[in-house]
């Protein structure tokens, strides 16, 4: 069978060090392929052991002792041991660290090397999601020798090693001999960068690219009838929301926010922006999560009701506002539909398309916006609504209390209950317009197998990918 693969990715990573950048594009290339962490996240979001063979947790939930695999080597031939783990974790949480997810490590108090194959991590307080956190790309283990050059030439412990990066064009990985874990099937994998949606379809159709694990949902209709290609729909952790600036009048008025929620026709939005593949949500939780509560019925599509609420709030003459849209298709397409729907109830939105840089600057940092559409792709991130000064400008002590409690809870059932409660508060407050869970659409050659169906995290795990006969 074939052992080579050309895989399309939308964005080129700025560099290849997952511990030094937020870009999902980095993980899409190196996660699980080049770099490995203590734990890793599986195809369905479960936490799996990785470089840590096993672990024990102290009863107070504060001390984690990891037992490491032995005989593991980095691609440059240096050995992997507990010192590398300590180095990596300390580096990520250092004062001068520019790790984009520094928060993942904030609970860590100390990291101790017990012996070359054992590491003990002590937390300041129990953290329910610690093992999950250690599975993020930002928490992978790097070697002190190569940490500074990983951006250019990533050196990890994974089954593939970095071979070449033709900037702007493609990144090539090849199989790493002497890999400690299960052998992989592919000898060579090229990640070809194709940002333009217009180019992605022909690239797939012409066979230049054999797999597009993160394919624009909107373009699926173009390839789904092609017998040579397989289209696989899964779920992501991307809650796509119509974010509302909760402090900015008139959106500080609950009735206005509720009116917006009533005005939204999720089905139309999903059809128009994701080719009908998104899953409607009623609060900030992925439907694939077991703590998910279906709240989509809370605000059914009801323009009349929306108008009435607006009238009650004193806005029968309508509202003028802006809608800032970042570049992704779901936002730009969804935005147009949202604008059209809100116009029907008397909210006139001026659409302002912005680039990511501007979005981060204006919307996220300076909170200079009325409405925006964005997908929050971090897994289990309902706690963002409790963050002070977050761009929603949402402030509800009751909600904060739930989250606080959640952070200290490690009992699964109890956690699910708290999560359910949090979801309900958000829905009641109509903090934002909850639209849909971003679908994960993978398209690949019908003879390929082993790709992830879902995307609990943004990664292209190639460890199980192979060509069938």
């Amino acid at each position: 069978a074939r052992t080579d693969l050309v895989l399309g990715v939308v964005l080129e990573p700025p560099h290849l060090d997952p511990t030094a950048g937020a870009a999902a594009a980095i993980d899409e290339v190196v996660y699980a392929n080049v770099f490995e962490g203590l734990t890793r996240i599986g195809p369905n979001g479960e936490v799996l052991p990785d470089l840590a063979e096993s672990w024990t947790v102290s009863d107070d939930g504060k001390v984690y002792t990891f037992k490491l695999h032995t005989g593991v080597k980095f691609h440059d031939g240096t050995d992997f041991d507990a010192n590398d783990v300590k180095f990596s974790l300390d580096r990520a949480r250092a004062d001068n660290s520019v790790n984009a997810q520094k928060g993942l490590f904030s609970a860590i108090d100390t990291v101790e090397v017990v012996d070359p194959a054992t590491v003990k991590v002590t937390l300041k307080h129990p953290q329910g999601s610690f093992l999950y956190n250690m599975g993020w790309g930002d928490a992978v283990i790097v070697a002190p020798e190569s940490a500074d050059t990983n951006k250019e030439k990533p050196i990890g412990t994974g089954p593939f090693k970095f071979q070449n990066w033709a900037k702007g064009s493609s990144i090539t990985l090849v199989k790493s001999d002497g890999y400690w874990g299960d052998p992989v099937f592919l000898d060579k994998a090229e990640f070809r960068i194709i940002p333009d949606a217009a180019a992605q379809v022909p690239a797939l159709l012409s066979g230049d690219v054999q797999a597009f694990p993160f394919f624009p949902p909107d373009a699926v209709a173009q390839v789904k009838d092609n017998p040579n290609l397989k289209v696989v729909i899964g779920s992501t952790e991307g809650e796509t929301i119509l974010a509302i600036n909760n402090k900015k009048p008139p959106f500080d008025n609950l009735k206005v926010r509720q009116a917006i929620s009533y005005a939204l026709d999720r089905k139309a939005i999903i059809d128009g922006a994701t080719g009908g593949l998104g899953v409607p949500i009623g609060s900030h939780m992925s439907p694939s999560n077991k703590a998910y509560v279906d709240l989509t019925g809370e605000y059914p599509h009801d323009p009349a009701k929306a108008k009435e609420l607006l009238k009650e709030a004193g806005f029968e003459n309508g509202i003028k506002a802006t809608l800032k849209l970042p570049p992704p298709d779901y936002a730009r397409l969804g935005g147009e539909i949202v604008a059209s729907e809100l116009r029907d109830v008397g909210i006139n939105l001026e659409i302002i398309p912005v680039e990511w840089a501007q979005w981060l600057d204006q919307v996220f940092t300076r909170k200079d916006y009325d409405l925006t559409i964005v997908s929050h792709t971090e897994p289990s991130d309902i706690d963002i609504y409790s963050r002070k000064d977050y761009y929603f400008n949402y402030d509800n002590p009751a909600f904060d209390k739930v989250i606080e409690e959640l952070n200290l809870t490690s009992d699964e059932a109890k956690r699910d209950e708290l999560l359910g409660k949090a979801q309900m508060i958000l829905a009641d407050d109509a903090v934002v317009g909850f639209l849909f869970e971003l679908p994960k659409v993978g398209v690949w050659d019908a003879r390929l197998e082993g790709f992830w169906q879902n995307a609990p995290i943004q990664a292209n795990d190639l460890t199980k990918v192979k060509w069938s006969e």
Binding site: A198, D218, A219, G335, I337, V354
Partner: protein
């Protein structure tokens, strides 16, 4: 003028341009469908009796969008040409009238603007101000300035040494007055012809910018953006690309023919022949 209409190129160009303009004007009063309402359930329908050119990914009628898009294309290109002429022509005339230092400086500044690939600068401008029709106008307009400045200067330089200018100077007229009374009217046809060319280029440029997502923004339909949206749906809805593309081609073709015809008709050589 009747001579003009016997010129085939002029006539064809004129008719096409007229038709496009009429379509744009008509769209203010009537379009087959309302394009501000998205009917997702009607999306990507092939051309039919109900929708002659089919519908787009939001279920909007493409014919209606092309009609309204014509407005945008015309407006952007027209204002951009206006900016180019309004600033470029006086500069060029000034350079021609003053010569030497002023001329040198102005022309070097011209070269400077020319040295920036237009699209690149347009991208930078939209990076600052954000995408949008107005910024597209500014971006395209800026690049029309040196074009018109050059044409006006070259035309002016050719007229200045003519004897009737000497006659006007001998009659005591200053260079400003001569420029207004003699130079400008004499290069008007030149400018008119260049104007139609730039107009056509403006429509292409607007389409290019919109295609990169930097031009007109929703909900305002624009031909370039329609193509931008069509390109990801080429397989299932080729009509989304074909009709707006044709609209651009036909309009630009019409304007170019008009310009060619005008140049022919207004060329004193051919007029003497006729």
């Amino acid at each position: 003028m009747s001579a003009a209409f016997s010129n085939r190129s002029f006539l064809t160009g004129f008719l096409i341009t007229l038709a496009v303009a009429a379509m744009a004007l008509a769209s203010y009063a009537w379009t087959p469908y309302d394009v501000t309402r998205l009917v997702i359930s009607d999306k990507t329908q092939a051309p039919s009796l109900a929708h002659w050119f089919g519908t787009d990914h939001f279920g909007r009628d493409i014919l209606s969008m092309i009609m309204i898009g014509a407005r945008n294309s015309i407006a952007v290109a027209l204002v951009a040409v206006g900016i180019g002429m309004g600033i470029g022509v006086p500069l060029g005339l000034w350079a021609a009238a003053r010569g030497n230092f002023v001329d040198e400086v102005l022309m070097r500044l011209n070269d400077l603007v020319f040295a920036f690939p237009a699209l690149l600068s347009a991208i930078m401008i939209t990076a600052i101000f954000g995408p949008g029709a107005v910024n597209a106008i500014i971006a395209i307009g800026i690049f029309n300035i040196p074009v018109f400045a050059r044409v006006a200067r070259a035309g002016g330089l050719a007229i200045w040494p003519r004897e009737f200018i000497l006659a006007a100077r001998a009659a005591g007229k200053g260079s400003a007055q001569i420029t207004l009374e003699h130079i400008l009217p004499n290069i008007a046809t030149l400018l008119l012809v260049q104007g139609t060319i730039q107009f056509a280029l403006g429509i292409l440029a607007e389409a290019g910018l919109s295609y990169l997502g930097l031009g007109a923004q929703p909900p305002m339909p624009s031909w370039g953006r329609m193509l931008f949206e069509a390109q990801t749906r080429m397989v299932i809805a080729p009509w989304m690309a074909i009709f707006p593309g044709m609209a651009i081609v036909v309009t630009v073709l019409g304007l170019n023919l008009l310009g060619d015809g005008l140049a022919d008709v207004l060329d004193p050589k051919s007029r003497r022949r006729a």
